[in-house]
């Protein structure tokens, strides 16, 4: 059985608990065990890097230290905001030994920067696309998904070095073995404005509207994401977008793990899909 370190992040233990449910159920079905980091703290997410650079390195560094202490060599952070902050902090610690020493004193734990941080798509790739193909019980017919990567799965590209930052295909490749179709569209790496949902809602509605409109125009019947904040914006706020722009999209938004889980024969309840706002008719 494959075991992998697990950093849920605040969103998955908060209002995006359906994402955690989905990830856990999926990993269980694929024989991978998630070992949650003990007493992990918030990575600082969208706020720390705006207010205090040192804090934006120290908060994720504490978690990297916890992972090293517990002998975790690979850490799954299903939220791309978390994984990006963890990877960025690790890069700073590795690049700058002087800084690493000072941050280590600040966060009161030894730091070498040797833990690999991975996103959800990478974990599916590690389990193996062919393994997933062999485990599919209910091929997903009738799905024409717009795979939405958003910002932080692939950017900043020099730090993350994951997939093609302008034209990623990794989610489409997974959907293919599930028997689901995907559409070509223009907004797969455009920002949905998630960091500004509370602070500047008109901006976020405008950005999310462009994404939903483009997906619909290209014939998608659902969106697939691997980010809790993208999900909040595109699912929970979809009704607000429709009201603001006088449109009707009616596009369910699935986490990537939802579709993998459905193909593996798991129920919508087991995956938390029943907790989404936009439901398939």
């Amino acid at each position: 059985m494959m075991e992998i370190g697990y950093y849920p992040g605040c969103a998955l233990h908060g209002s995006s608990n359906d994402y955690e449910k989905s990830v856990q159920a999926c990993m269980g079905a694929l024989g991978a065990r998630l070992k949650e980091l003990d007493d992990w703290i918030c990575c600082g997410a969208s706020a720390a890097h705006v207010i205090n650079k040192t804090l934006s390195v120290a908060l994720p560094a504490r978690n990297l230290g916890l992972a090293e202490r517990d002998g975790v060599s690979e850490l799954l952070a299903p939220c791309p905001m978390c994984s990006m902050e963890l990877i960025k902090a690790r890069r700073e610690l590795v690049d700058n030994p002087g800084l690493r020493q000072k941050i280590s004193e600040i966060v009161e734990i030894g730091l070498e920067g040797k833990t690999d941080v991975v996103n959800l798509i990478q974990v599916f790739q590690k389990i193996g696309i062919e393994t997933i193909r062999a485990a599919v019980k209910m091929p997903l017919e009738g799905i024409k998904a717009a795979c939405y990567y958003g910002c932080l799965l692939t950017r900043p590209a020099s730090v993350l070095q994951f997939d093609d930052c302008e034209h990623p295909r990794s989610m489409e490749n997974i959907l293919e073995v599930l028997g689901a179709g995907s559409v070509d569209w223009n907004y797969k790496t455009e920002c949905c404005g998630a960091g500004m949902t509370m602070a500047n809602e008109p901006l976020m509605l405008e950005l999310s509207n462009k994404i939903l409109a483009n997906a619909k125009a290209h014939g998608a019947n659902c969106l697939v994401v691997a980010c809790p904040m993208c999900h909040v914006n595109l699912d929970m706020k979809q009704a607000d977008v429709e009201r603001q722009y006088g449109t009707n999209y009616d596009l369910p938004v699935y986490y990537l793990s939802d579709l993998v889980g459905l193909a593996l024969g798991l129920s919508e309840q087991a995956l938390g899909i029943d907790k989404h706002f936009v439901v398939k008719r």
Binding site: C10, H13, G14, S15, N17, D18, D39, W40, I41, G44, A45, S46, A47, A48, H49, V50, I51, N52, K53, T54, L55, V57, A58, L59, R91, E92, D95, N96, L99, K102, I103, I106, V107, E108, C151, L152, T154, R155, P156, A157, S158, V159, C165, N186, Y187, T189, E190, C191, A194, G195, M196, M198, A199, N200, L203, L207, A217, M236, K275, F277
Partner: protein, 248 residues
């Protein structure tokens, strides 16, 4: 060496905006189109400008962003790809220019740095590897204390502060607490009742889905989290002088 090249601040230069059609033969152009303003002069702001807490230098910005702003040659690719450039009073390439030429008074009091959604598109596409999103962060850090009183960006700043306040108290974000902290801080500043009540109807919908946690999670070692915050507020790990000279 840049003194003679500050072409955009020349008075009388006509504002030229390149505006691309939003739709080419059925293919909608992703992102903010080409409505960038690299041919235009930088607009002056009104009188009620905010000050700034810290006088940065180009070197300080470089150290914070691990970049070399002096590398920028104003191609405007950052602005062309920026999803919010259309709404900005200063575009990303103009902000990099201001950082290059140490014109921080204008850079720190603009609204644009608070519109940035940190999507990292500018940084990713820069042909000279200038970490433009990092420059935005560096400018915000220097401007944050004064920006919270300027109406246009007050809510944005209050949101970031409420977020970190909740992290400092619990070790993790408690969404309900953060929302209350944010809404009350913003209301205290602008007395805007509709904005205070906005989204309150979401609570029962979240509750029905098991997504509304009044009592959020707390880490065991909250004293440690507080110490980390305390030290980070005092630490000066990114000095204002002496360049590190490496880029991302």
């Amino acid at each position: 060496m840049f003194g003679n090249l500050v072409w955009y601040s020349q008075k009388g230069l006509r504002k030229t905006v390149l505006k691309a059609p939003r739709n080419f033969g059925g293919f909608e152009i992703a992102s903010g189109g080409l409505q960038s303003m690299w041919m235009s002069e930088i607009p002056e702001r009104s009188k009620d400008q905010i000050g700034f807490a810290m006088q940065p230098t180009p070197t300080y910005v470089n150290n914070l962003a691990h970049t070399k702003v002096e590398e920028c040659y104003q191609c405007g690719k950052c602005t062309a790809g920026c999803p919010v450039a259309e709404r900005m009073d200063l575009t990303p390439n103009q902000l990099v220019r201001l950082a290059q030429t140490a014109q921080f008074e204008r850079a720190l009091r603009c609204e644009a740095i608070w519109m940035c959604v940190s999507c990292q598109t500018c940084t990713t596409r820069c042909p000279k590897s200038v970490n433009c999103a990092g420059v935005m962060d560096a400018l915000r850090q220097c401007a944050v204390e004064q920006a919270e009183d300027a109406p246009a960006q007050m809510r944005t700043v209050q949101f970031f502060k409420a977020f970190l306040q909740s992290v400092r108290r619990n070790g993790r974000v408690n969404e309900v607490e953060m929302t209350v902290l944010f809404k009350s801080a913003a209301f205290f500043k602008d007395l805007n009742i509709p904005m205070l009540m906005k989204d309150s109807m979401l609570a029962p919908k979240l509750f029905a889905r098991g997504k509304f946690h009044v009592v959020g999670e707390k880490v065991r070692d909250r004293a440690l989290v507080d110490r980390i915050f305390e030290r980070c507020m005092k630490a000066d790990l990114y000095p204002a002088s002496s360049s590190e000279g490496h880029s991302h």
